[in-house]
């Protein structure tokens, strides 16, 4: 059966979640937050790498119920703060405003669950990004079998950053 495209109201492809329930707006918000944390430059950013899927999977599977609740509350608080400061939903703000707001949240300038939310989201975005296929294949290249160990290696000759498997 072919469905007319207007039936697919959610343009986001949601990943299956066991505990968290997100609207497509919330997903879009989270996606933009991860992109603000690690933006596209001359290399791919979090949005292109789908890093927010990893953030959601980890919060859904690897954190406690209370953390999940705080995560959801804090996510909404980002929007509340952006409306308060810029009169706009977060995703409607300019990239400069988005960066400014998240930087201020990261510096713990506000109260609320938004602090725990950003701590989790920043950490997981970093992890999802640095442990993505893209970064581990192109930028911080992972060697599965280095076949060597040097215990006194000159710093000046060091070109590789070794990530753990």
């Amino acid at each position: 059966m072919l469905l007319p495209s207007c039936v697919q109201q959610d343009k986001k492809v949601s990943i299956p979640l066991n505990n968290l329930k997100l609207s497509s707006e919330q997903e879009e918000l989270l996606e933009q937050i991860t992109e603000t944390i690690i933006p596209a430059t001359d290399t791919a950013g979090a949005k292109e790498l789908g890093t927010y899927h990893f953030v959601l999977t980890m919060v859904d599977d690897c954190s406690e119920k209370e953390q999940q609740e705080n995560f959801m509350k804090g996510l909404d608080e980002v929007n509340e703060l952006s409306k308060e400061k810029y009169n706009n939903a977060f995703i409607k703000c300019t990239p400069q405003q988005q960066l400014e707001l998240l930087t201020r949240i990261d510096k713990k300038e506000f109260d609320g669950k938004v602090n725990e939310f950003l701590k989790m989201t920043k950490g997981l975005t970093i992890r999802g990004y640095t442990k993505s296929k893209y970064v581990m294949s192109n930028l911080l290249v992972y060697e599965i079998a280095p076949a060597r160990f040097y215990g006194s290696f000159p710093v000046k000759d060091k070109t590789r950053f070794e990530q753990n498997g």
Binding site: T57, L99, K108, M136, A145, Y150, S152, K158, F161, E162
Partner: protein, 570 residues
């Protein structure tokens, strides 16, 4: 195979357990031409084929190797083990499937499969010396070991040559040299610490830890189909090159190649069958793990290598009118005098020197500090001593402080900076076997196969606490003399068990009144049953024990074959 096929159920030898030591019994018997049945309670794990995660890249693990909360909650015991992660959790027993009774807290880490825990081990292979074997007699605990270093030395060599051990000839009487493949490098800071310790202490040494890695494969290893260790440091997944020693890549396929091996996975051993009239064990009663069918297998010689505590369980559950309290248990000591290694203490620090140097590549092992306390004479207010793992490296870090977001964060992530050298060490303390530390059968609780659950009652004592305190004091002093900064000691307070070095319960000794096994690992009271896994250990010393289990098993198998041939086992 049903119970009506007696011939098909009769073998020349039966080995219970296809793990670290059972693999050796299988290899020795099969090579000597005995039709050998190996019983394994878990599934088969074929080398390479059954290592599902071995070549996975980090991003292929959904949770980047972290254990989801639900699995953690379902496995409060197994998830305490450092190797219980997304890439290797399939090699661990799940808590709910194999319950046991903790009279006192004991984290029993198990791997029920062909290969057992040899897939997951830390691959450390230090020999014992006479300072270890003579310990109980000199210091007046447990009973005297019925063997000395000279009895086991040729078997250490035998096992080391086949397994492939990387090490240096260090010439230390307390840690005898073996048959070594080349060592890997120590780091700049490890070498520096080595020189500081040498200069300040007469009897203390920092050496490269001997480990079961093929740094330069010999013909015997190539014949096994194994290749050089490529420093993946992902050993817990199983190595596609056979770069480290595990049962799956070595002894089991070697035994199978002879055509004499019958490997039966999913075989839960209920008991060893004892024939009161013949006055000997005649076979093994097995419950098929899947069908629950009860099947008896027969052989004139039986090797029990089920893993220390499960070996105790099988013996305790093997009752007959001759042995109402468990096979060979005339003195009532079966299950008692169990011991372990104290792994509670850690010390960490930073070294601010050697800024122009770092490490490159990966190394699947570390440095090692052999026991230096009470080695040549008693010198402290506690008995025995500890060895210590020692390892140093230089990490790189990415600046992600609060307020760093966006392009700056991304730049920092892509351009890591060199951190300080770290220096970490952990205790491996000898514990004293005592009658009050024991395992037994629970009177009412049974497992899914109707076998009584093991109850475990083991605790630390005052000697362990004093030893831990001494480790912290001595290591702090050594670190201070090296000029290390930011020295931190940590007592994990972990329960016994997490060391995964539980030992004893069917100890060796000269006197049948005070021990279960003789100097050949043969039950004093039932000559055709041998125990050469961790259950046989009279004392624990400080070395990682697998190498000693392997050497004892090969030695016992050789003796059992000779005795069998002479007709002395009937």
């Amino acid at each position: 195979m049903g119970n009506n096929d007696l011939k098909g159920r009769t073998f020349d030898a039966i080995v219970i357990g296809a793990g670290m030591s059972g693999g050796w019994a299988a290899k020795e018997f099969c090579e000597k031409g005995l039709k050998t049945l190996v019983l394994e309670r878990g599934r088969d794990v074929k080398h390479i084929k059954d290592y599902p995660t071995t070549n996975k890249m980090p991003w292929e693990f959904e949770h980047r190797n972290q254990i989801p909360s639900k699995i953690k909650e379902e496995n409060p015991i197994a998830s305490k083990c450092y190797n219980f992660r997304e890439d290797a959790m399939h090699f661990f027993v799940k808590d709910a499937e194999h319950p046991y009774v903790q009279e006192k807290p004991f984290d029993w880490i198990r791997g029920y499969q062909v290969g057992g825990k040899s897939i997951l081990w830390a691959r450390q292979t230090q020999r014992w010396s006479d300072y270890d074997f003579e310990g109980p007699a000199r210091d007046g605990f447990a009973v005297d070991w019925p063997i000395r270093y000279k009895d086991i030395a040729p078997w250490y060599s035998y096992v080391e040559k086949f397994a492939g051990i990387s090490g240096n000839k260090d010439g230390l009487p307390q840690l005898p040299d073996g048959e070594f493949l080349p060592a890997l490098e120590l780091t700049a800071v490890e070498k520096y610490f080595q020189s500081v310790v040498k200069k300040n202490y007469k009897d203390r040494h920092v050496i490269y830890a001997r480990c079961a890695h093929l740094t330069q494969p010999q013909q015997i290893h190539l014949d096994q189909g194994r290749g050089k260790c490529l420093h993946r440091d992902l050993c817990q997944r199983g190595c596609p090159y056979g770069g480290y020693y595990n049962t799956n890549s070595t002894t089991i396929p070697w035994a199978a190649k002879t055509g004499n091996l019958s490997l039966r996975p999913f075989s839960v051993v209920h008991s060893i069958i004892y024939d009161d009239k013949k006055g000997q064990a005649t076979g093994v009663r097995v419950i098929d793990a899947n069908t629950k069918e009860v099947i008896d297998y027969f052989a004139p010689v039986i090797f029990l290598n089920a893993g220390a505590f499960n070996t105790n369980l099988v013996l305790l559950n093997s009752t007959s009118s001759r042995f109402p309290n468990g096979l060979g248990n005339d003195n009532g000591l079966l299950g008692k005098y169990v011991a372990f290694h104290n792994y509670r203490g850690r010390i960490s620090a930073e070294c601010e020197d050697f800024k122009d140097l770092t490490i490159d590549g990966r190394r699947p092992t570390s440095a090692y500090i052999p026991r230096f306390r009470n080695v040549f004479k008693q010198e402290t207010d506690f008995l025995r001593g500890y060895a210590a793992g020692f390892s140093s490296g230089r990490g790189m870090f990415q600046k992600t402080d609060d307020g760093i977001i966006g392009k700056e964060l991304k730049e920092n992530l892509l351009h890591p900076e060199h951190g300080s050298w770290y220096a970490g060490s952990h205790i491996m303390g000898e514990t004293i076997p005592k009658e009050s530390n024991y395992v037994g059968l629970d009177a009412s609780k049974k497992d899914d196969w109707g076998i009584p659950q093991l109850k475990i009652s083991i605790d630390y004592d005052d000697n362990d606490e004093k030893m831990l305190k001494d480790f912290f004091e001595q290591m702090t002093e050594m670190y201070t003399r090296a000029g290390f900064k930011n020295i931190k000691t940590t007592d994990s307070k972990q329960a016994p068990g997490l060391d995964i070095h539980e030992m004893g319960g069917a100890r060796m000794g000269n006197d049948p009144k005070t021990s279960l096994l003789n100097k050949w690992n043969q039950l004093h009271a039932c000559k055709n049953v041998f125990v050469a896994d961790g259950a046989c250990m009279t004392s624990t010393s400080t070395q990682n024990p697998s190498l000693t289990y392997m050497a004892l098993t090969a030695r016992a198998a050789d003796y059992a074959f000779t005795e069998l041939t002479k007709g002395n086992l009937v």
